[in-house]
Symmetry: C2
Subunit: 294 residues, 2 copies
């Protein structure tokens, strides 16, 4: 049994066809037939049920498939690492991040570019714990900036900074008259909030719960920019992480603090504990950490 056979097997399962898989693998169909037959003989199990039109995995085949995918992923990851070890000082650093990353990252990147002028940086939005774990495990990126601690043995989460949430209201909103705004004042307000699955939503709803106020959710959005626009149009109020202050400020909206101490989030940097990271990546992580230590 070797990895070649596993790769073949996996491709067949994906394509549900020998001939299609053979094309993708750039080999002839009989070669593929042969390889799988040898594999089945070796493990002494039928892995695939070839019935009229279409293939199906047997029970053993299903287990075998799961293991094979995991094994091949690890093998590919090893090759990625080796590739990265070659290109010292050049190559690409891939980062997964939350939206607010853009507010502070440019300040760090300027310095870093002087040290490593040939490094290319790629940023992808990665939200939610599961997505973060997958992003790192698949070696899609070297590290992520996330707004929740990642609960996984193979992943290290380092807290970077805490930030409060602030309230964004239309300039004509009556809340604007009040000196101090509490959660009770938000009870009747039409609230604009992230859709389910986003951590900011959970953070905010948890705060409502802790303050014993029922949120009146009016509109659910995916991007916080949308929330800002809606407030601008006078369609409701929204709650944003502090770092959005600069970008949220427009002629018709006003930023207000909420008088509470339950509305705060921590932003983390997460990476795989036992992945080899190039000196450039380590340096960048170090820069980010020291930026927030001050």
């Amino acid at each position: 049994m070797d990895l070649r056979q596993l790769r073949y097997f996996i491709t067949i399962v994906h394509e549900k066809s020998y001939s299609k898989a053979a094309k993708i693998l750039h080999i002839s169909q009989p070669s593929l037939s042969n390889a799988i037959m040898k594999l089945e003989k070796e493990v002494s199990f039928q892995l695939l049920e070839r019935n009229t039109r279409g293939l199906e995995l047997t029970e053993a085949g299903g287990i075998f498939y799961t293991r094979s995918v995991d094994l091949l992923r690890r093998f590919n990851n090893m090759q990625v690492e080796l590739e990265e070890m070659k290109q010292v000082g050049s190559g690409t650093i891939s980062i997964g991040s939350i939206e607010s990353f853009k507010f502070w990252f440019p300040k760090i990147i300027r310095n870093f570019k002087i040290l490593y002028p040939n490094i290319h940086i790629k940023v992808k939005e990665v939200l939610g714990e599961e997505k973060v774990i997958d992003f790192l495990n698949q070696y899609n990126g070297h590290f992520t900036i996330t707004n929740q601690p990642i609960n996984n043995d193979e992943i290290m989460s380092i807290p970077l900074y805490n930030e409060k949430f602030i309230l964004l209201v239309h300039k004509d909103d009556d809340l604007n008259e009040k000196g101090s705004i509490t959660f009770q004042d938000l009870a009747g307000k039409e609230l604009i909030i992230s859709t389910t699955g986003f951590q900011t939503r959970d953070d905010i709803l948890k705060a409502f719960k802790e303050e014993n106020v029922n949120p009146n959710i009016f509109y659910e959005i995916e991007r916080l920019e949308t929330a800002c626009s809606l407030v601008e149009e006078g369609l409701g109020v929204t709650i944003l992480p502090e770092s959005y202050i600069k970008s949220a400020v427009t002629p018709n909206t006003v930023i207000r603090a909420i008088d509470t101490n339950v509305l705060e989030r921590t932003v983390y940097l997460a990476y795989l504990k036992d992945r080899y990271l190039s000196p450039a990546v380590c340096k960048l992580v170090e820069e980010i950490r020291s930026f927030f230590k001050m």
Copy 2:
């Protein structure tokens, strides 16, 4: 790059010699030289430093070695699983366990033998969290009985039962006169206890701490049987898990309860979450769980 090359590379690293490794691998030395040269060419790194008398890993080689070992372990584990899927109803079940396992396991095994008469059971003593994790990860056993929860994402720990610790004293000991024994009474006593690294030691010392008593450790032992013998000889007192009651009772020793509620341990059953376990193993685990549910 294929697993064959990784296997070759690993063997060379272990043997620190091409020719020795070639013998172990049952191939000729030039074949091995050739394989490694091709590997090095492919990854474009020198992996081994062949200097006069003896080999050394390069830095890249070291990282490569770690990954290779992990990959090969997983590959071998997959083959073990396949092998086990073949022998349904026969084969061997391997269990790692703490000492006190022997007190209750025979009661369960009798029933199990009727259901699966062809299954062979192998028990090995596996103590300490690290050893348990390793034992499971290396596929040395199907599950373990342990006296501490295993803190690992890939391992499931199920609590089986709680048991109190009891005090074993010599029949002439003055503690024997007392109606109720507290931790304060143990302050001056010469204590026989497990050596560092055993969970029973930690459990007992934690209780001393919580009761604000300084233990007077007189003798450190590896096996609890040794502790019993020492008490028998009148050399001190010891604290044992309850399940030892029957085996500890000898003419010259007396079992006493300690009046406290901080001296207790939980025994767990731990297994790898995503390992395939044969129906026989599942049944045995089920039997154990239901035995303690009553």
